[in-house]
Point group: C2
Chain length 243, copies 2
């Protein structure tokens, strides 16, 4: 599997991204395609011994910044690393794309270039989280801030497949993140989603609270991207404050 990496996205890019890509190529032998400003990446690559590694470089002179309006930026910057990187997938030249950049632009680009899976209206961010009880999957961790019940149902299906195929959980238990375990708890969105999840061919275990994330009560936790982002970043904040 050839992996395209957006060298220009994320904190301390491109230096740290290039470093990670080189480490991955070295450790796993994964073919990596670094996409971004050619000269800058070349300069970064000089820090490492890459002659024998399966690393390619594809030039993309434009960069979509974190504060740009995703859809607009993606349409305007045809030569951005996100645009060029996703196009490599669209053309079948690689099998996956990694970016720590503007996630809205990645999402817009994925829809525009790769199209949705049939039956899935919106891409979602699935984030595996380590817990004392094993890895859980939080979905959506930030791609879709305003959702309808059917979107959460689609996230549930995708999260279940992710946990099964990627994390190797045999029969993933799927829960909806809510403000209480009781059936009647939840907001309009999660109550509507719950009625849909009950009908899906998955192991739906009902509502889960925030603290259940770490208690082994489910393998996949479904929420809208606004909630997922806030939960994830709050945990990150606490970890930084304590650690």
């Amino acid at each position: 599997m050839k992996v395209v990496v957006d060298a220009m996205g994320g904190d301390f890019a491109p230096a740290e991204v290039v470093r990670g890509a080189v480490a991955a190529a070295e450790e796993y032998g994964t073919p990596v395609v670094l996409v971004g400003k050619g000269e800058v990446i070349e300069q970064q690559l000089k820090r490492f011994h890459v002659a024998s590694l399966p690393i390619e470089l594809v030039d993309a002179p434009e960069v979509i910044e974190m504060d740009e309006q995703p859809g607009v930026a993606f349409r305007k910057k045809k030569k951005s690393s996100i645009n060029v990187g996703l196009s490599l997938l669209g053309e079948g030249k690689a099998q996956s794309f990694v970016s720590a950049g503007n996630s809205g632009a990645v999402m817009a680009g994925a829809i525009f270039i790769l199209r949705n899976i049939e039956g899935v209206d919106r891409p979602a961010i699935a984030t595996p989280l380590p817990t004392p009880e094993g890895k859980i999957t939080l979905i959506d961790a930030g791609a879709n801030v305003d959702c309808k019940p059917e979107h959460l149902a689609q996230f549930a299906l995708m999260g279940e497949v992710y946990a099964r195929k990627i994390l190797g959980v045999e029969k993933p238990r799927v829960a909806i993140l809510s403000n209480g375990e009781e059936r009647m708890k939840g907001n309009e969105l999660t109550k509507g989603a719950s009625r849909l999840l009950e009908k899906l061919p998955i192991t739906y275990v009902g509502n889960a609270e925030g603290r259940d994330l770490f208690a082994g009560k489910a393998d996949v936790f479904v929420c809208d991207g606004f909630v997922g982002n806030l939960v994830l970043k709050s945990l990150e904040g606490l970890a930084v404050a304590v650690g």
Copy 2:
């Protein structure tokens, strides 16, 4: 200030609640009114030396359980500790009410018996949280799962007063919890609320992310009760898992 305490609400009630009430009366000299099943509380009080303490007991033979439908339970159980306790406030016999019980029932009861402050449509739960940068106030931490922008604006005002008057923050900075600091980030609810907060006589500092809770970026963090509950309980879960 006389404080009414719901002896029947919360984990390990009434034992732990009575213990806490006795400790408070001892340490601060606060007059406490314990409300709940008379005989049970009397039994509990025997564990302590309370003869000289400002502790009263008011009998309330019914208990609203955690899994009861709040509004229904409150209307049905006229002799519940929540009902009797809030009525003491309504009659001017005490100045505040503390309950770790069914928060929905407390909220319904507060609206029904005490009525709202003018201009405030819904009560909210303000939770002070310790951080390395001092105490912050999270509001709403769980009372209102589905909100409109004007509700968040009202929470902002109440949270600002709470931080100023109770926590002693001179000029509290108020932020809206969102999925990004940038102005364009947020869901329909927070974007609408942001437009309202800009016009309020408070120090509104814009959006704050989950990690900003611990970074000293604001003193009051405003959100709907679904999000507030999830953030709070996720943090609790991580703390338990790590600690």
